[in-house]
């Protein structure tokens, strides 16, 4: 028997509708060169080349062939390479064949033909569902885990793959129609004709859905022509049609996420782009897919869905077998048998029902019909060779086409929190309650009422109740008046000559479980190798709820998410636990509906764009100076200058002996303006600011409501109604939000305003004993004597004709001048300061200089519990009676308890700095206990020894105490000292 092959259209049936025989494409599969036609999918091309074995199964490494013709495919997952694109998990059934594609089967060690792990199938009874909870336990699971993980998984990631690099796009529409079949096309057209902006999303290469391969007549036209006409009308009506696009998720407030495929390499390295669509209304016309039958060895290559067999024939001119057994529980399979006969195959129908109106016409056409019979087991190992029926008969076959009913695709309805219900009449899960803004139409909506009987004719579609009613539903949903859905159709309406049969006859009854049970191996979930025995095992072990069943057996958890296995699994669970399927329930469908590549989601947000840095205006000047940059938060700043090992030490020495310039432009400069500005600052800051005189600066703390220090900074008062708040560089946005929050909650919005001027000013800090000389050389037009400009005072000057603000404030402990100028003059100011003799210092140097002085970095030398009195700033707590953020928290038992961690200095005993994070340890009753930790630590050039700051319980009472410190198995010793190591009196500020 020959198996699958391409056939010609000798009978003139109009098969091969999607392929162009004049355009031959070359590709390779597992190293073998093959050809196909433009319009083929990878699967249709493989079948046309007689390929029956496309991969190996997940657990047992059983041979597998193509199973379906759509996105629900569980077996034909291939490794695909084309141009810049690499997809290790491509579904061969939906990927269009392109010239020079390289395809490999996945999950086979060797090739699909010769898989060295195929022996695992013989040990199947040792590796049922959940085996890893019970076996491979001694001595520890960890020893086996890597090997098991290496054996599992489908496909291999190529680390050198190019990312998609395609920006997400956004779209707002009034109507989004998901699905381009008969119901969807009608809905879209109705929507457009009623004046709405419409988007039609369809995952196929051309819209039309099942009309493209099943017999149907609408408005007197063959289905495929009707679809083409509708498509033209849609474009003319301004409807945006996105083909090869899948709606993968529905989110709050009618947001839909789409994955568009088939983009040229120039637009996207992996051919994909993500879309976020907001629609006022959504019509879900996603159709229904076929489900398989249950019998022994139903996973063999050569077992395929009936609808797929028909599609391969009509769309791609591929006949999947020469001697076909069509096994079915419903009428939809008869059309498939007739088409196979017309294509030169020999056909046998095995219908599980006692009677069908289609049986007689089939026999008349030469098809043997076994009524009231079903397949018991598939015969053959590497491929199907025959079928053994329940009646005892054996049938020779190289293809078993199965149809166990239809499953509406209601996933997106469930994403929108719709609750599905089981409809016994059509044996399917259908939408239950309605969801606002979402309408489900067509086959996706299942059947609700029984249509009238009509004369028998072939060519039924998996429609709502009927195709007519699918179209009517679509029209209503799209916005046409219900009574006359086709009033605006360009084509003269004619009665359609579809046969209307009872919906159960078309949809099929509940899954037939007669073959299930006992020792037979019957597959339910092909992709995860879950059999009926696994479900029985789960029930035996009391994993009998549908949620437990899923997770214990992994049924429905593979990349196909159980599209062809869920309902069969539920039916078996129901039978095993003596319940109806509606009592069993269903697990929650969550996005994405199909697998989405992470590269597509990331789009352009990779590398630098994933975490963009903020830069100093004068960055180029710093680069010219040989700065070594680091990221501090999201700010790129010079850590030090030059590449010598002693750069920081040298910079520290210069800063304390001569003059140094530091780019402090990233500090916040938040202006608080208005008659209530002082009151706002008094509430937000722990340190009172309303008593600050104009022209003066004050260092203060801002607390969280927990009483913990939240930020620190220096406030400058320019005028009674005008303050400038500076805060930690990385904290500006948060400080602005914090000020705004209390401003909007407690103050008159017309009496105080916040203006974040941080980006408007560049600030250079010139510090050191010789700093005054540098400032003088800058010629800023200000008086430089310490009476007119004392420490913590500011004045206005000019720099190259623009306003400059000069403040005497220091983070180094030396005399220091912070000069603020308009941001674009940053480089000029820097260069002039350098020319005047100041040497450059970076952030790391500043870290050492301030540590020598015991100046804290909030968040480094304080933690989420550190309160002002822990760092020796308890005065405001004792003095202030008015309210401020965090006030009440400073008087709780927690705040007043003994043993709070306090900021101290630590003098290391050796000549190595004690690492940050090291714990001082005490011993009580033989038990060692951490009493704090080191927060900052460095070598001090000024003192020529290592110094550190830390938070230690009762630190101030421990002054002079020598303690052991531990860190990552190493031990150190240090003495608790005051946090200021240098110039406690602060004389150097005025030197």
């Amino acid at each position: 028997m020959s198996g699958p092959q391409r056939i010609g259209d000798s009978n003139g049936n109009g098969i091969g509708r999607d392929i162009d025989r004049s355009r031959r494409l070359n590709f390779s599969f597992d190293g073998r060169e093959m050809t196909g036609f433009a319009g083929d999918t990878i699967a249709s091309a493989l079948l046309a080349n007689g390929v029956r074995l496309v991969g190996r199964s997940f657990k047992y490494h059983r041979p597998r062939g193509v199973f379906s013709a759509g996105g629900e495919e569980p077996n034909a997952i291939v490794d695909l390479r084309h141009a810049l694109r690499h997809d290790p998990n491509a579904r061969a059934t939906i990927e269009p064949l392109l010239d020079a594609m390289t395809i490999h089967s996945t999950h086979a060690h060797g090739s699909a033909q010769r898989d060295t792990f195929s022996f695992l199938d013989r040990f199947a009874s040792f590796i049922p569902a959940g085996f890893y909870y019970k076996t491979f336990m001694w001595p520890r699971f960890r020893l086996y885990e890597d090997m098991i993980r290496a054996l599992a998984g489908i496909g291999r990631i190529d680390a050198s793959s190019r990312a998609a690099q395609t920006q997400q796009q956004f779209l707002n529409v009034e109507l989004c129609v998901i699905g381009g079949g008969p119901a969807g096309l009608t809905a879209a057209l109705a929507g457009a004709r009623s004046g709405k902006s419409v988007l039609l999303v369809d995952d196929q290469v051309q819209p039309g859905g099942s009309l493209r391969w099943r017999d149907a007549r609408l408005d007197g036209l063959p289905g495929i022509e009707w679809a083409a006409t509708r498509g033209t009308e849609l474009s003319a009506a301004g409807v945006r049609i996105m083909s090869q696009t899948t709606a993968v998720g529905l989110y709050d407030h009618n947001a839909v996420v789409l994955v568009e495929k088939g983009l040229p390499p120039a637009q996207s390295a992996n051919g994909e782009r993500l879309w976020q669509v907001r629609a006022r209304n959504i019509v879900l016309a996603s159709g229904a897919i076929e489900r398989p039958l249950l019998f022994e060895n139903n996973d063999r290559p050569g077992v395929m869905l009936c609808d797929a067999v028909l599609r391969y024939l009509r769309s791609y001119s591929v006949r999947c077998g020469e001697r076909v057994a069509v096994a079915t529980s419903n009428d939809s399979a008869y059309e498939v048998a007739h088409e196979l006969i017309a294509a030169g195959a020999r056909c046998v129908i095995v219908d599980s029902r006692a009677h069908s109106d289609h049986a007689l016409p089939a026999r008349d056409a030469g098809i043997e019909v076994h009524q009231g019979d079903s397949i018991d087991s598939a015969i053959g190992r590497g491929q199907v060779e025959g079928a053994r029926l329940a009646s005892g008969t054996t049938v020779e076959a190289d293809l078993i086409a199965v149809s166990g009913g239809w499953t509406p695709l209601i996933h997106l309805y469930c994403h929108a929190r719709g609750k599905p219900r089981w409809d016994d009449a059509i044996a399917a899960l259908v939408p239950g309650d309605s969801v606002a803004g979402l309408e489900v139409v067509g086959a996706a909506n299942g059947g609700r009422s029984r249509p009238s009987m009509a004369s028998a004719a072939l060519g039924l579609l998996p429609g709502a109740r009927t195709l007519d009613e699918a179209v009517e539903q679509g029209a209503c949903a799209g916005g046409a008046a219900p009574s006359n859905p086709r009033a605006q159709s360009a084509v003269e309406p004619q009665p359609s000559d579809l046969s209307l049969l009872q919906s159960t006859d078309y949809w099929g009854g509940p899954p037939n479980l007669t073959a299930a049970g006992g020792k037979r191996r019957i597959w339910v979930d092909l992709q995860h190798d879950v059999t009926t025995k696994d479900i029985e095992l789960a029930v035996r072990e009391n994993f009998a709820s549908v949620e437990h069943l899923k997770r214990y057996t992994t049924l429905g958890m593979a990349t196909d998410q159980g599209k062809t296995s869920n309902v069969n699994g539920l039916a078996i669970l129901a039978a095993q636990t003596g319940r109806g399927i509606d009592a069993v329930g269903v697990t929650t469908f969550r996005p994405p509906f199909v697998p989405v590549s992470m590269a597509t989601i990331a789009g352009k947000a990779l590398g630098e764009l994933q975490a963009p840095v903020r830069r100093l205006v004068a960055e180029n000047v710093h680069r010219e100076e040989g700065a070594y940059f680091r990221e501090y938060g999201d700010l790129l700043r010079p850590a030090w200058y030059g590449r010598t090992a002693d750069a920081v030490t040298d910079e520290c020495r210069i800063a304390r002996s001569a003059a140094a310039v530091f780019d402090a432009s990233s500090l916040g400069k938040i202006e608080v303006i208005g008659p209530q500005a002082a009151a706002l600052l008094d509430f937000v800051f722990y340190t009172r600011m309303s008593t600050l005189a104009p022209g003066r600066l004050r260092y203060g703390l801002a607390l969280a409501e927990s009483g913990a220090i939240w930020d620190d900074g220096v406030v400058l008062r320019l005028a009674p109604d005008h303050f400038v708040v500076s805060c930690s560089s990385g904290h500006v946005a948060a400080m602005v939000a914090h000020l705004e929050e209390w401003r909007q909650d407690r103050f008159d919005l017309t009496k105080v305003f916040i203006h974040d001027a941080s980006a408007h000013w560049a600030t250079m800090a010139v510090s050191g004993p010789q700093s005054r000389g540098v400032i003088a050389a800058l010629d800023l037009g200000i008086a430089l004597d310490d009476v007119q400009l004392p420490h913590m005072a500011a004045c206005a000057g000019t720099f190259v004709g623009r306003t400059a603000r000069v403040a005497r404030v220091s983070f180094t402990g030396e005399r220091c001048y912070e000069i603020s100028v308009p941001a674009r003059l940053a480089a000029d100011l820097w260069r002039k300061a350098r020319a005047a003799g100041a040497e450059p210092i970076g952030v790391e140097t500043l870290g050492v200089l301030r540590a020598e002085k015991g100046y804290i970095f909030v968040g480094q030398d304080t933690d989420s519990e550190t309160m002002p009195h822990d760092i020796g700033m308890g005065a405001s707590r004792d003095k202030r009676k008015d309210g401020y953020v965090g006030d009440r928290s400073l008087f709780t038992p927690f705040a007043k308890r003994e043993g709070r961690k306090q900021l101290v200095g630590i003098a290391a005993s050796g000549n190595q700095p004690i690492p940050v994070g090291a714990h001082p340890v005490t011993v009580t009753n033989g038990k060692r206990r951490s009493i704090g930790y080191v927060t900052s630590s460095c070598f001090s050039p000024a003192l020529n020894r290592p110094i550190a700051l830390g938070l230690v319980e009762d630190g101030r009472r421990r002054l002079g105490e020598k303690l052991d410190f531990e860190h990552l198995g190493m031990r150190y010793t240090g003495t608790i000292v005051g946090s200021c190591f240098l110039d406690i009196a602060g004389a150097r500020l005025h030197a």
Partner: protein, 84 residues
């Protein structure tokens, strides 16, 4: 993914906003008991259903607004400015 109608800016994506806790909380006076202060600091309504929440339109008008919304269905019932 949600749309919040800002009273000042109109309907905007939720990513423009920052959550700020329950609306309607009164900051107790400084002389309140420890228990009252703890209640203010740590107790959350955690409503299943219609809740009143504070949100900051951080990437828009930077105004704090109160959003009345259903925490189970995500329906937005009303929005109003915090400060009139």
């Amino acid at each position: 993914m949600q749309i919040f109608p800002c009273p000042f800016c109109g309907p905007r994506a939720d990513r423009e906003f920052r959550y700020g806790g329950d609306a309607g909380k009164q900051r107790p006076p400084r002389d309140c008991s420890d228990a009252e202060w703890a209640r203010y600091r740590y107790q959350r309504a955690n409503t299943k259903g219609v809740a009143r929440e504070l949100w900051l339109h951080a990437d828009g008008c930077a105004r704090w607004i109160e959003i009345e919304r259903d925490t189970t269905t995500h329906e937005v019932i009303a929005t109003r400015p915090l400060a009139p």
